[in-house]
Amino acid sequence: MEINPFTILIASIFTNNMILANFLGMCSFIAVSKEIKTSLGLGQAVTFVLTGTSVINYLVYTYILEPYGLEYLRFIVFIITIATFVQLVEMIIERYVPTLYYSLGIFLPLITVNCAILGVSLFMVIREYTLLQSLAFGIGSGLGWTLAIVALAAIRQKIKNAPIPKGLQGAGVTLIITGLMALAFIGLSGVVTIQ
């Protein structure tokens, strides 16, 4: 696995986008993408947590779980790491950067159950990334997620007054738009590829 970390960074933003190619983090993606501002807030929080947890989970997996043959415990350990990290970040931000806390506040606890976070850690293990690659993957995935949710929020604001058939309103049309976005992003797949 000698992929340049920078390649991973670019690929995880554009061609292997967490939402549009791997379907991770869909729940909050559909629910929160009504306004650009809140989407951006959630995106920042996700990027931050992803960066932190991918590194911590990498270290925990390589130096604690693997040497003792405890790989099968990784689901439990990863989810605990993520929950603890989110809790810690919440306390630290509240103590030192209150303004940021109030803008991210409500989103932080939500992040624990965002599948993108656990998904990145699991992908990292499956693809056998190194520390630097994991870091790049974490940051890139977060940025890619933010890009997708902000773009979707912008589109949804534009079509707010469009005459959409009743049954399709809400989740239905959001998924169709996401499909179109995914289609557009496939156009970028020639730029870089990782697997």
């Binding site: 379907f23 439990i76 699991l122 049954g167 399709l168």
Partner: protein
């Protein structure tokens, strides 16, 4: 508040279907539906985890302090997911590879947490167990419905068996991510149009 078993199943599978009605658990619903067999295995895994974690949560409901109940639920769910993962790895490694991280992502599937929190926490073990099975079946039905179309249009096969002749041109697009988004969007549209929501029905609007 004790509903009959029939009601639990009807609600879980049709009216309150977790996927198209409550928009829960759609990450994995989209990711594994390019092949019917993957969707089937994923559905079975989810039924197992949902039913048994509902059962366990319900058994422990009087002994769990309420402020740590989320953590307890997550740990219970993780334990069952690990069982699914280990069994798959041991007996069906090819499937384990195909599903990749999505088996582990059953943990963050909101359906399970939702059922534990909304139903098992307040009800007796046996109804909770069946409620878990019902939600799981509702999830699997939707997965299979999406997968039938995606696999048929994308590969011209059903469960890996070719059902059309050589003249069939595969719609590669259907097995790629956009196909999944479109299929689920259309399914939600159909469901919202033809399956009445519960409160509407109670209001006599059919």
């Amino acid at each position: 508040m004790v509903k009959g078993l029939g009601n639990i199943f009807r609600d879980g599978v049709f009216q309150d279907n977790p996927v198209y009605r409550q928009i829960l658990g759609i990450c994995s619903a989209l990711a594994v539906t390019n092949l019917l067999i993957n969707s089937f295995v994923m559905g079975m895994g989810l039924i197992f985890v949902t039913s048994f974690s509902s059962l366990t949560v319900s058994l422990l409901r009087n002994h769990t302090p309420s402020h740590v109940r989320m953590m307890v639920q997550t740990l219970i769910i993780s334990a069952y997911v690990i069982i699914v993962d280990i069994v798959l790895k041991a007996y069906w490694p090819a499937m384990s590879d195909a599903l990749g991280p999505y088996v582990g992502l059953i943990i963050t599937n909101c359906i399970i947490m939702g059922r534990c929190e909304a139903y098992a926490q307040k009800n007796k073990p046996l109804p909770s167990f069946f409620d878990g099975i019902a939600s799981g079946i509702g999830y699997m039905v939707v997965l299979l419905a999406i997968a039938v179309f995606r696999e048929f249009l994308g590969f011209g096969t059903l469960f890996g068996i070719s059902v059309v002749g050589d003249w069939w041109t595969n719609w590669i697009f259907m097995v790629m991510p956009p196909g999944a988004f479109f299929m689920l969007g259309i399914l939600i549209w159909i469901a919202n149009t033809y399956i009445p929501a519960k409160d509407e029905k109670l209001g006599g609007a059919k």
